[in-house]
Symmetry: C2
Subunit: 412 residues, 2 copies
């Protein structure tokens, strides 16, 4: 027997959620613990309760809607979820699609009157986007992977300490750190998400079964040289920090594009000092982020990129320094889950293909304590983290039906 989600309810729920946090620039600005996020949380809780599911939240503000199983309340949970928070001026589907699809699956199962062996939970994790202190605050709290120092000393992207932002919520640094203590054991975690890249659309296939979630390494770096008057210090005597950054950016990109094809390197942020048109740049601070699919290639990239920075510094008589800001290990989807997803997609008659996730997801954090897997649906034009982010309802429908089929199988 094949049961299917209620597509129109799935769609109208996502549309309703897409009206919460709508910003002046036409996107969604809904960082965790903002007013818009608090409204989205209340909306999600109401949908859970209206669907006859049991509502729970933990000390990190992660929200869960639960459908009890025959094995009783102590049994391991089969969980599906994602996140409701967004980047500033982001879109209405990144995260939201996975949360609403998980909710829809549990409501469908309950309405069909199916009694499964294991309990099911639809989850929404706090601050996946890392607007506060590093990515994945909620899923890291849930899995006990948080560092107290980061919470206490880290400055959020809003320039305020985390404790100050929490003061408007029921949560504190202590409740966040203790969230893992009361977390249920998880039998498996599934996450539906938009691809955020162009592969599925280019291939014309609605479902991507993620094989690997790339690891990410983010450093804050600086070249430091010497300033001076732009009209009096000859070019050959300069120690220009901006030229150091320029040299490094080109060499690093060339290296990754050739020797580490398929990996990613990005310099997204740069600050030049003193920063006037007639001063030779004394210092260039910049972000260095790289991503790859295996622990070995992440380690090699770190070594190689820092080596290139050292060569640039030495050739240009600059000093180079850097410090680690955040790092997530790559995650390889366990064969068991990958097999179940592929078999269920085949049974539903849906074309699918293996994909790599370049972006990070809560699934890789859940993967440190259980088997985790992801279903991708196409992102038109590869767009995400932008107001134009979108999806096609027919792709979402297929993804939600596959999620439903896999949950049924895992919880049976």
């Amino acid at each position: 027997m094949i049961i299917r989600v209620n597509t129109s309810r799935l769609q109208s729920n996502l549309e309703a959620l897409g009206r919460i946090g709508r910003d002046a620039a036409g996107g969604i600005t809904r960082p965790s613990f903002s007013l818009a996020d608090l409204e989205a949380r209340a909306w999600f809780r109401a949908r859970i309760e209206e669907g006859g599911l049991e509502y729970r939240e933990d000390g990190a503000g992660n929200q869960f809607g639960r459908l009890e199983g025959a094995a009783g309340p102590e049994a391991n949970v089969v969980m599906a979820g994602s996140h409701l928070d967004t980047v500033p001026n982001g879109g209405m589907f990144d995260g939201a699609a996975g949360v609403v699809a998980a909710l829809e699956c549990l409501r469908t199962i309950r309405e069909e009157g199916l009694r499964l062996r294991l309990p099911l939970e639809a989850a929404s994790f706090t601050d996946e986007e890392g607007n506060l202190v590093g990515d994945f605050l909620g899923s890291r709290a849930f899995t006990g992977k948080l560092d107290r120092g980061l919470l206490e000393r880290g400055t959020t992207s809003f320039g305020r300490p985390l404790a100050e932002i929490l003061s408007a919520t029921p949560y504190t640094i202590e409740t966040i750190l203790s969230a893992a203590d009361r977390a249920p054991a998880v039998a498996a975690y599934l996450e539906l998400h938009i691809e955020q890249g162009p592969v599925l659309e280019t291939e014309g296939i609605s479902l991507g079964l993620v094989e690997t979630i790339n690891g990410k390494h983010y450093r804050w770096c600086a070249f430091e040289g010497e300033s001076g008057h732009s009209g009096t210090v000859p070019l050959e005597l300069r120690r220009d920090a901006l030229l150091g950054l320029a040299d490094f950016a080109l060499r690093a990109t060339r290296h990754v594009a050739s020797a580490r094809y398929g990996s990613f390197v990005t310099i997204g942020k740069a600050l030049i000092q003193p920063g006037t048109f007639s001063s030779i740049p004394r210092r260039a601070d910049f972000s260095l982020e790289f991503r790859s699919s295996s622990k070995e290639s992440m380690e090699a990239l770190e070594r190689e990129l820092l080596g290139i920075a050292g060569e640039v510094a030495s050739a240009r008589r600059l000093r180079f320094a850097s410090r680690l800001m955040d790092r997530t290990d790559p995650y390889r989807i366990p064969g068991r889950l990958a097999g179940i997803l592929a078999a269920e997609a085949d049974r539903l008659g849906y074309a699918h293909m293996p994909v790599t996730s370049g972006a990070g997801h809560d699934a890789q954090i859940l993967g440190t304590v259980t088997d985790a897997a992801m279903i991708f649906i196409p992102s038109p034009d590869g767009l995400s983290h932008a107001p134009e982010e979108s999806l096609r309802w027919e792709d979402l429908e297929k993804g939600a039906n596959l999620l439903l089929a896999a949950l049924l199988r895992l919880a049976s």
Copy 2:
């Protein structure tokens, strides 16, 4: 007969001036029309009057101390001067040395009871450093080279419109624009200044006779590409504006260092958008400044550098746009003045050498209406625009004595 300046008065005046506008970082912060600058202006006026010279200021806030000549008040003026304003966190000699030396020369001439044919003036020009709306506001006003639009629309480096800054002074945009109407005709202009570069110190020579003041061209430029998620857009599909800037910075520097040896190119300021560590840079705005010694090479540099920017944009599928912010033509010191300075230095027994001025100076603006020349004294370690900026008193003494001798000859 050789007369000489009063070295101890010259030194104590410079030291007194160096206490006005001393900032927390140990430098001098005395931009025009700041409280510190108003204090320096009052100090200079008091020194002029105490020296028995006639004080005058014009509608641009340029200050003059005058010693009348035998030819009467309508005769062309022989002028010496520089500026009292500084860059933020600058030093105590850039500009100040030339103003105080000019004052000292006129006081010495008056005290010696010499009656010269032409009137002499010691001048201090407003905002040579361009903290308001482009370099040389005062000397451009004096010579009638100002554009009303720039004054009305230009935003100062303090982020406030010029009119707002002027509201705390006796000056307005109208008085600045009319300063030239009442300016006296100038027979010649001499300016003593620290070198701001390492040449004289390296050569061990106290006096540099400037042959050429480099021209300067300052543009505000931008490469624009496309943003996207740093984990999902493959390197080969990116249109990364920061990599465009990096490529341009290296190619432009390499070009000038080889094909235009002796010229200067500097990218001192850069702003990356959206500017988060996980976004591909969509836009890189940056300053492009180049300097050279002839009109021909300035024109060639403009053509060549914009050509390189176009090549980078096309190779990297970016858009490039730029607009001119400020430009000053190179100035070649007239042979007559260069000859007088060399002859007087020889007569005084001072070693001297020809030098090029990489930095811009009021002299090149005065040079559009009269013959102008400059005397450089060494900058220890080549430093300027920094708290560590310095000079050796014995070099200053030689420079001031040469300035005095040349003024006597020009005004006789």
